[in-house]
Each structure stands twice: as C-alpha cells, then as structure tokens.
C-alpha cells in the first residue's frame, strides 16, 4: 500500500484534504479483509477533513500497472475505484467529478499552497481567460460576417448602432453553446478546427499577398522583390502544409501516434 502525499498536514491546513490508498493486488492478493480495509481508510483520512466540502486529491506516484486506487471522500466512506493502468501519475479527486482530463482541475494546484483564496483566485483567472476568449472568438466571427456583407460593425459601436453585428456575435455564441451542449469532445473539435484552418490557409493567404503585391492598390507600400520572393516562398510552404494536413492527421491518428 502506498500512501499519497499530504496525508496529514496539507489537508488540515488548507481544507483541501489529500489522501489515498493505492493497493497492489499482486502484493496483497485479493481484496483485503474488512478490518484491514477500515484501517486503511482511517489512515487515509486526512487530518481536519470535513464531510462534503473538501476535495480529496490523491496523487498516486508509483502505482504499478494494474493497481487499484481507492478514494475516500467523506465520513460515509463512499469508495470508488480507479484503474491506474492508464497513467502512472494520476490525479484522482473529489466527490464532484473532478479529474485530470477536465481543464478546471488545474486550479486545484493553487489550492495546495494558498488554500481557499488561491483556489478562488485561480478559478476567477480561468473564468476571465475563458470568457475573454469566448467573447473574442464571437466578435471575430461577427467581424468577418459583417465585413463580408458590408454591415455596420465595430466593438465601439453601441449594440443598436450596429444591430446586425450584434445579432451576429450573439448567434455565434448561442451556436457555440449548442455545440458544447451536445457533449462533443471539445478537444477533438479544436483539433479538427485547427486542421481545417490549415487546409484553407493558402486560400486566405494568396489574396492578401496578391493585394500586397499590387501597386495600383498599395502604391509606394507595395511589396518589393525581396518581400515578393519571401511571400511566394511562404505560400509554397503553407500550400505543402495544407496538402499534407489531412494525410498526416490520418496517418498519425490525430497526432496521437
């Protein structure tokens, strides 16, 4: 049996209880006797851990393949098992579906040294970062649509001064919400989005380059021979990347090897 870190002091100090039992069936044979199991639970219970509110974090450091981790998260001693085959260093936590595959879990890192204040600050930071990115993305889409159709647009315009622009970014936000609510794997979606952005890159790059090379539009600011040469070189590179994107994605199973 291996005891996870923070078995005692850390849990009591910052109300983030840390405790675990990792058991190797090969070392202990089958499941332990009830007395031994109760003893394990007693030792795994961090000092000062209160029911319901704390997050139980288990850091399994040297679990052998096939080991099992028991998680204890309250006086009721609800036990869940997590197979540790997938990852030797696996974070198993909390009664509220907190796991390493969820980006928000990284906010718990701030709770270990700084307690509840650290956790709140980290969560606030993540909220502002994600919300800012969401607003920026919605605006970006609305800019593109509005400029394409020649609508009034602009961040500094009041909503009723650029009504179709306003409706456009609201529509994009609702559409994004609907996509997320379908339960689709967001990271896979991002990978596909990046893939298709590479595919269309030559099509967006070429008009801009031709425009930058055109003296009738750019006059004295038009690209000179060096900029033109580099521009065409980059165009060849992005075209090669666009052609190779889908085969590479398929051959590497989406980059996972």
């Amino acid at each position: 049996m291996r005891q996870a870190k923070g078995d005692g002091d850390a849990g009591g100090a910052c109300e983030v209880g840390i405790g675990a039992v990792a058991r190797s069936p090969s070392a202990h044979g089958q499941r332990p006797e009830p007395d031994e199991e109760q003893e394990d639970r007693r030792r795994a219970q961090p000092a000062g851990l209160q029911p319901g509110l704390q997050i139980v974090v288990v850091d399994v450091v040297d679990v052998e393949l096939g080991d099992e981790v028991e998680r204890l998260d309250g006086p009721e001693h609800r036990v869940e098992r997590t197979d540790a085959r997938a990852d030797r260093q696996k974070l198993v936590s909390g009664p509220l579906n907190v796991g390493p595959e969820i980006p928000g879990t990284s906010a718990l890192e701030a709770a270990i040294p700084f307690g509840r204040v650290g956790l709140m600050l980290a969560l606030l930071g993540m909220l502002f970062a994600v919300a800012g990115a969401a607003v920026e993305t919605c605006m970006s889409n609305a800019y593109a649509v509005s400029q394409f159709f020649g609508w009034e647009w602009g961040r500094h315009a009041k909503p009723w001064e650029a009504p179709r622009f306003t409706l456009a970014w609201i529509a994009v936000m609702l559409l994004a919400l609907l996509i997320v609510l379908t339960g689709v794997d967001v990271m896979s979606l991002v990978e596909y989005a990046v893939l298709f952005s590479i595919i269309v890159l030559p099509l967006t790059y070429l008009p801009l380059m031709l425009l930058a090379n055109d003296k009738s539009y750019m006059r004295e600011h038009a690209n000179k021979w060096l900029a033109k040469g580099l521009g065409w070189l980059f165009f060849v590179i992005v075209t090669c990347a666009a052609i190779a994107a889908i085969p590479l994605y398929l051959l590497t199973s989406g980059g996972s090897g």
């Binding site: 909503p159 009504p163 179709r164």
Partner: protein, 117 residues
Amino acid sequence: MSALGHLKIVSQLLDLPIIDKDERSCGIVDDVELEGRPGKEMKVAALLVGPGAYDGRMPAWLLWLTRQIAGDRMARVPADQIDEIGAVVKLKSCGEDLGLHQVEDKVRAWIPRKGAL
C-alpha cells in the same frame, strides 16, 4: 480613383463596401447595371445591393437557400449618387434615401437601447 473614370468592374468595383455620406456602411456592391451596347462605350448605370442581386453569382441551390433566408430585396444606387470609387464606394447621399438601410433598421428595432457600455 474617379467615380466616372475607367475601371475594371470585377476587380475594382464588385464586392466593394459602400459607405454613405455619413460614413455608415451600406452593404457591398453585389452587382452592377450597365448601359450601352456591344461595340459601344459601356457605362455603369447603377450599383445593385442586396440578395436580389445575387442571381448568377452563386449556384442555384445556394441562391434558393439565400432567398429563403434573406429574401430577394434589392436596392439600386444610381451612378450619379457615387462620389468616389477607391478601396470603398463612397456615396453622395444617405443610405436611407437609397433604401440601403431597410434591414438594418428592422433589426435595430429588436435591440434594446440600454445596457451598453
């Protein structure tokens, strides 16, 4: 660039944003109306703006879909209302006078006029 000078219609006029005299966006040049005869001098008679001018610029199924969503309204901007053609087309008059802000005004009615920063 002069509004009445020689120009390449496809590369120097089609799809350019239109700005009225109050610097408001009024859509883009979706099509142009020409006057003249083959072999004779051709002149731009008007700019056509709106989904009704998309005919011939997109596949039939996409045109049908666009008409279902956006209708087939089309505004006509006479050539004498063009002030300048450059990176944008500048007009001499207001967009409202030429029927260019109809949809914008309809949508504006839905937006509450409060709460903006």
